[in-house]
Amino acid sequence: MDPIEAVKTTFADQVLGTGAHAGQPWVDVKRDRIADILKMLRDDGGYDMLTDLTAVDYLNQGMAERFAVVYNLYSVKDNVRTRVKAWVPESDPTIDSASSLYRSAPWAEREVWDLMGITFKGHPGLKRLMLPENYEGHPLRKDYPLTGRGERMNFPRYIP
């Protein structure tokens, strides 16, 4: 069962387009019903492993929206991979969480929230994963300076 076609037929209104590069096809979808799409792929398509969940910041690259949350799925049984890209607008960077579908999702989503600033609705415990709790800003965004905004300097100096 070709996953891209299956998503196209059942969620025709959600699909924004498809693409392929280096022999790897993917499907772009809106963010509204991403949980149902993933559930369908997992249950009917047999994609039982969410290999990787990440996000890309297409700041003024002329894409549908600014952020794309990328789901790399893999089916262990018949050894096939697919990729679903959910587009998230900059004005309201939220999307449904996949933690209820895959147990590998929570930390990946926490990392995306921490570094990219996309909140996941329905996430069991959305906290920062990599950076300290009191860190403001999301460093992996394109408009964030590489050397940070001074967080790496404000620590007390040890007076001997």
């Binding site: 460093p139 300076p145 050397t147 790496r152 100096r157």
Partner: protein, 159 residues
């Protein structure tokens, strides 16, 4: 403020200093503050081929209470800096610090938001080891530098 601060200078004190420094020099108990790749190289220095035990620094203490030489081996991230400060505070007084590798000494190849650009901005460092990761020979050389430094120190300085 032990007795040594009241001791007058002279032959007696220099002999005691020499004895105390000789004792401290040959029994440096390192505390490996190992975070990243340099920690693997530090383990290589401690194992049988390069054998840091020949310099008396074989006993690895993971608790700051029993250590007197802290080897910061590896890069220090934002979240790790308060831990480093707290552990350095908790070490008892005659303590020295080696900053092993480029990442600990000056941030190395990671000049970005997440890395401390050198731990000497926050804690006093006695010996820096260049290299990424430094070879075990240069780690041993650094321990010998610390031993030379311990040898020259006077007790009053540490009082």
């Amino acid at each position: 403020m032990g007795l040594e601060s009241m001791l007058p200078d002279g032959v007696l004190t220099s002999r005691i200093e020499a004895l105390v420094n000789w004792g401290r020099k040959n029994s440096l108990w390192p505390m490996p503050f190992g975070t990243a790749c340099c920690a693997i190289e530090l383990m290589g220095t401690l194992s049988s081929r390069y054998d840091l035990a020949r310099f008396g620094a074989e006993v690895i203490r993971f608790s700051p209470r029993q250590a007197d030489l802290m080897i910061v081996s590896g890069r220090i991230a934002l979240k790790m800096m308060p831990v480093l400060l707290k552990i350095w505070e908790q070490m008892p007084e005659p303590k020295w610090c080696i900053s092993m590798g480029a990442c600990a000494s000056c941030g190395g190849i990671f000049d970005n938001y997440a890395m401390i650009q050198g731990i000497d901005r926050f804690i006093p460092v006695d010996v820096y080891i260049p290299g990424c990761p430094p070879r075990p020979e240069s780690v041993i050389d650094a321990v010998m530098e610390i031993q030379k430094k311990v040898e020259r120190e006077s007790l009053k300085q540490r009082a």
